[in-house]
């Protein structure tokens, strides 16, 4: 990635592709802006006119109803027009190349692409090839990054525990395949979290974890002890069928978050999960629905955070309206 691809000449956000390359000031700007948008959902009219007249295309090469819905709702709350394109079943499967699809959408005066793709780097590729007035937001690419999910997690944490410098955060689960975890780790480091621990079976723990400045654990109970925040990652079913894990039951026995294990955390700790939860695999229902869980808040805050990212990216860019 070119170092400044995400920023314009004035250092403002132009695309949102990865947490990497953004400084603490920018992350705080996103969180502060999201804070202002959080109240919009409680109004009689749940909309602001900021992006009226803009067109945002959700390009989902990979299905994700929840992420697409929150991006769509965020765009609509900003008064933008939204196109939802399920690319895997339309243009590209008819032989149209990705760049052809982009050019056609640009010809329809689309101002922003929200891109979800199974290949790492897809959103960067689109950002490098799109028209100068178009912004690109990465809604998850391969194993690489899911920056808006990471930012909504940071927003949720900050709402409960504003001082990152005092926090011990444990991320539990499939670190090897998790784009969410990678983005979370970079965001937590950038925001100055006191300690980030990652906890996973050896088969699901990448070798380079220490180089990211985190503390790896293979024992859940040791890893979550006294943690202020525990983020459970979703386990993909296909990992169970591969060579990564013996069984769901075995994973749950060793790495599942149970009510008894909650006692190991700091008394005021919160429990997070990007959803959807495999109940009885990553955690018990009692934990998911319990008083420490902020999982539904994450969903709600996802809209405000995506509104913030979209509006910051749609500020004046080269070639935009003058």
């Amino acid at each position: 990635m070119r170092p400044n691809l995400q920023l314009d000449e004035q250092g403002r956000l132009r695309h949102f592709l990865s947490i990497q390359g953004l400084d603490r000031q920018m992350l705080n700007l996103i969180l502060d802006t999201a804070e202002s948008f959080a109240g919009v959902s409680n109004r009689t009219v749940k909309k602001v006119p900021l992006l009226r007249g803009k067109v945002i295309a959700n390009l989902f090469f990979e299905n994700s109803t929840r992420t697409r819905t929150t991006f769509e709702l965020a765009a609509k709350r900003l008064s933008a027009d939204v196109l939802n394109l399920n690319i895997s079943t339309s243009a590209t499967s008819k032989g149209e190349t990705l760049l052809d699809t982009l050019r056609n959408l640009e010809a329809m005066q689309v101002d922003m692409f929200v891109v979800r793709h199974g290949e790492s780097g897809a959103a960067h590729f689109i950002a490098e090839h799109c028209a100068p007035h178009v912004s690109v937001i990465n809604a998850g690419d391969g194993w690489h990054a899911h920056p808006t999910q990471a930012m909504l997690d940071m927003f949720t944490i900050r709402r409960h525990k504003p001082d990152f410098g005092r926090l011990r955060i444990a991320i539990v689960g499939d670190l090897r395949h998790s784009r969410v975890a990678r983005s979370q780790i970079v965001a937590l480091n950038t925001l100055g979290a006191a300690e980030v621990r990652v906890i996973a079976p050896r088969t699901l723990m990448p070798n380079d974890m220490r180089s990211l400045g985190v503390h790896p654990f293979h024992d859940l109970e040791a890893g979550i002890r006294d943690a202020d925040v525990v983020i459970m990652l979703r386990l993909q079913k296909e990992r169970m069928e591969g060579a990564f894990l013996p069984s769901e039951q075995e994973y749950y026995r060793l790495f599942g978050l149970t009510e008894e294990r909650l006692d190991l955390l700091h008394p005021e700790a919160i429990v997070m999960h990007p959803g959807p939860i495999n109940r009885g695999v990553e955690m018990d229902s009692e934990v998911a629905d319990g008083p420490r869980s902020v999982i539904l808040e994450q969903v709600t805050y996802g809209i405000a955070v995506r509104m913030a990212v979209m509006s910051l990216c749609m500020q004046q860019t080269p070639g935009a309206e003058s």
């Binding site: 502060d32 804070e35 202002s36 009689t44 009219v45 006119p49 509006s311 935009a320």
Partner: protein, 182 residues
């Protein structure tokens, strides 16, 4: 262009706001409006509204609007880096609303505030009150009451909240003086 920069100190500014409040009370009485709601526009409007709210002894808390998301120049100047959430802690449906700002010139801020207010509900009426009105309206919006009227060329900045000082005069000098006061 006015080359002289003058400033009004806290007692003078508070005196102007007090006079504005007295005229407002008389106006409300004349029109039979009891128990109105008051909403200040970030940032200076909130400081003025806070004093007026106390003077009138209004029962409902003071509402606050940040009109950043309603500006009509977003694509030109981008996001205000200091957006604060609006807070309208009451149901304004069918109520009389007193909308307060520190300065009105073009009328665009008042327009944005009206748009935002109506996203919270449909008030019975909205009256605009400002500390200072300048010439140079670009929209058909006039305040109901103002404490001061100035030429278009004079720059006006209210610094605050404590001490409250009003700077009037040459734009660069006013910006410098207000910056030093802050």
């Amino acid at each position: 262009m006015n080359d002289e920069t003058r400033s009004l100190d806290t007692p003078e500014v508070e005196g102007l706001i007090r006079q504005l409040g007295e005229r407002l009370q008389a106006d409300l009485l004349r029109h039979g409006v009891s128990d109105p709601l008051m909403v200040g526009i970030h940032t200076g409007g909130v400081w003025v509204a806070d004093l007026l709210h106390r003077q009138l002894g209004l029962s409902e808390p003071l509402g606050v609007l940040d009109i950043s998301f309603y500006r009509d120049d977003f694509t030109r100047i981008g996001m205000n880096p200091e957006v604060r959430p609006s807070d309208i802690p009451f149901d304004l449906e069918g109520r009389h609303v007193l909308l307060v700002d520190d300065v009105i010139q073009t009328g665009r801020t008042a327009r944005a505030a009206l748009n935002e207010l109506f996203d919270y509900g449909r008030p019975a009426s909205v009256s605009l009150l400002v500390l200072v009105q300048r010439n140079g309206r670009e929209l058909p919006i006039q305040p109901k009451l103002s404490a001061l009227q100035l030429d278009q060329d004079a720059q006006v900045t209210l610094a605050g909240p404590a001490p409250l000082r009003l700077f009037i005069g040459h734009p660069k000098q006013v910006a410098r003086a207000a910056g030093e006061a802050a």
